[in-house]
C-alpha cells in the first residue's frame, strides 16, 4: 500500500543515517504483518495485505502514531532531552540558527555606518562565540520542558496519515536549506548594496584612521545584486508554491551559474587592488588571477551539474 510506504519514508527522514534503511525495512515488515492480521481478523481466513482497504491502513498508522514519534522511539536515551521532545529540539535548533543569523546580520547592518573587513571579521568571531550560548539556552528550555513532563499527546491525536508526503515526491523542497540559502543571499545583497553606495570595499577599521576605499565597478556590483535579488525572488516563489518545478529549477541553476561571473570579476578587482595597495608582491596578481579563474570554472561546472541532476529529479515520473 502506498500509504504505508509514505509512512515508512517519513519515519526514515527523522532517523539517523547509519540505521535508517535497516529500521525502515523492519518497520515496513511489521506494518505489513499487522495489516495482514487486521484484515484476517475482519474477513476470510485467506485474506492478505492486498485485501486491506485504505481505512484499514489509516487506522493502523494512527494506532502506530506519527512518524516523528516512531522515529523518536529509536533515538535512545538522552541525558537532558528525552526521545519524545528530541526531534522538536533539533527542529528548533535548526530553524533558530537560521533566524539567529538573519537577526545578527540585520543588527550589524543597522548598527554600523561603514562596514569594513576587520569589523566584519570581528563581528563574525563574536557571532561564532555566541552560538554555544544560543544552543545552550534552547537545550535548557527543552530540558525544563522534559522535567515538566511535557508530552506531545495533543499533537499526536490530531495526526492524520493522509497528510504524509508522497514517496520521493518530485520537487519536494527542504525548508531549512531554502531559508539558509535565503539568509546568505540577503547577507550578500546587503553587502553588495553597501559597497555600491560607498563605491568600493572599505579597508580600514581603525576609527582614528581615514577609511580607505578599494574601488569596485558599480556596474558589476549592480549586476551581482540584481542576480542575487532574482535568486531571492525565485526562492520565495518556490516557498509559496511549496515545491520545486522544472522551470524554477532551471531558472535557479542559470541564475546561480550567471551570478558567478560578476562575483568573479569583482573578486578580480579586489585582488588587483589588494595586491597593488596592501601586498605589493611581484607575481602575486597573476597567481591570484589563475586561482580565481580556476575557482570560477569549478563553481560554474559544479553548479550546472548539480542543477542538471536536480532538474532531472524534479521531473514528474510518468
Amino acid at each position: 500500500m502506498e500509504l504505508i510506504e509514505r509512512y515508512v519514508q517519513q519515519v526514515g527522514r527523522f532517523l539517523p543515517g547509519r540505521d535508517r534503511d535497516d529500521i525502515k525495512n523492519e518497520l515496513r515488515s511489521l506494518l505489513q504483518d499487522k495489516l495482514d492480521d487486521r484484515v484476517a481478523g475482519s474477513a476470510s481466513a485467506d485474506a492478505s495485505e492486498d485485501d486491506a482497504s485504505e481505512d484499514d491502513v489509516v487506522a493502523l498508522l494512527k494506532e502506530r502514531g506519527s512518524p516523528r514519534k516512531v522515529a523518536a522511539s529509536y533515538s535512545g536515551e538522552r541525558y537532558l532531552v528525552g526521545p519524545e521532545l528530541y526531534p522538536q529540539l533539533m527542529q528548533v535548533l535548526r530553524t533558530g540558527l537560521v533566524v539567529y543569523v538573519i537577526v545578527h546580520v540585520a543588527l550589524l547592518a543597522l548598527g554600523s555606518t561603514v562596514i569594513t573587513i576587520p569589523s566584519l571579521i570581528e563581528s563574525a568571531l563574536s557571532f561564532l562565540g555566541s552560538i554555544p550560548g544560543f544552543f545552550g539556552a534552547v537545550v535548557i528550555v527543552f530540558a525544563i520542558l522534559e522535567r515538566q513532563d511535557v508530552k506531545l499527546k495533543e499533537l499526536e491525536s490530531d495526526w492524520d496519515p493522509h497528510s504524509l508526503p508522497a514517496i520521493d515526491e518530485p520537487g519536494r523542497f527542504d525548508l531549512v536549506s531554502l531559508f539558509v540559502g535565503l539568509a546568505f543571499n540577503m547577507i550578500f545583497l546587503s553587502f553588495a548594496l553597501h559597497f555600491w553606495r560607498l563605491g568600493g570595499v572599505p579597508l580600514v577599521a581603525n576609527p582614528m584612521s581615514e577609511v580607505m576605499i578599494l574601488p569596485l565597478s558599480r556596474r558589476l556590483l549592480f549586476a551581482a545584486a540584481g542576480l542575487v535579488t532574482l535568486q531571492i525572488v525565485t526562492d520565495l516563489y518556490v516557498f509559496l508554491q511549496r515545491r520545486w518545478q522544472v522551470s524554477t529549477r532551471v531558472v535557479r541553476t542559470l541564475l546561480d551559474a550567471t551570478a558567478a561571473f560578476p562575483i568573479y570579476y569583482l573578486l578580480l578587482e579586489v585582488a588587483s587592488g589588494l595586491v597593488g595597495r596592501v601586498a605589493p608582491v611581484e607575481n602575486l596578481l597573476p597567481l591570484a588571477r589563475q586561482g580565481l579563474k580556476g575557482g570560477l570554472i569549478l563553481v560554474v561546472a559544479i553548479t550546472l551539474i548539480d542543477g542538471a541532476v536536480k532538474v532531472y529529479k524534479s521531473m514528474p515520473r510518468r
Binding site: 540505521d19 523492519e26 511489521l30 522511539s73
Partner: protein, 110 residues
C-alpha cells in the same frame, strides 16, 4: 500529583520496563522476528507495544546480547533475532537475580 489510578499506572509501567529485557531474552532461544515475539509475549500475558519492543531489540543487539539476520525466504523479508552466547550467560545471571528478588519481595509482601 495524580489520582490512585495514575500513580499505580506509573509504578506498574516502571515495573514492566524493568522486566521486559528479561522477558525478551527468555523467549529468544529460538529465532523470532519482532512481531512474532510480540505475539508470543502477549500470549503469555505480557503485552509490549511495538514502539517499545523494536527499539529494545536493536539496543540489545548493539549490546551483543542478541544476534539478528534478515531472512527473505518468506512472504516478505523479516529480521530474526536470537539470543547470543553472551546473552545466554547474562540471562542465566538475570534469572537468578529475578528469583532472589521474587523471594525477597514475597517475604516483604506476606
Amino acid at each position: 500529583m495524580g489520582g490512585i489510578a495514575e500513580q499505580v499506572e506509573k509504578v506498574t509501567s516502571e515495573l514492566r520496563r524493568g522486566v521486559v529485557v528479561l522477558a525478551v531474552l527468555s523467549q529468544l532461544d529460538e529465532p523470532q522476528y519482532g512481531y512474532s515475539l510480540m505475539q508470543v509475549l502477549a500470549d503469555k500475558g505480557l503485552e509490549i507495544e511495538e514502539g517499545t519492543l523494536y527499539p529494545l531489540l536493536r539496543r540489545l543487539e548493539k549490546r551483543e546480547l542478541l544476534q539478528s539476520e534478515w531472512q527473505v525466504g518468506e512472504s516478505r523479508p523479516r529480521r530474526y533475532y536470537k539470543i547470543s552466547p553472551l546473552g545466554v550467560d547474562v540471562l542465566t545471571k538475570l534469572v537468578q537475580e529475578w528469583s532472589d528478588m521474587v523471594s525477597v519481595m514475597d517475604g516483604l509482601l506476606d
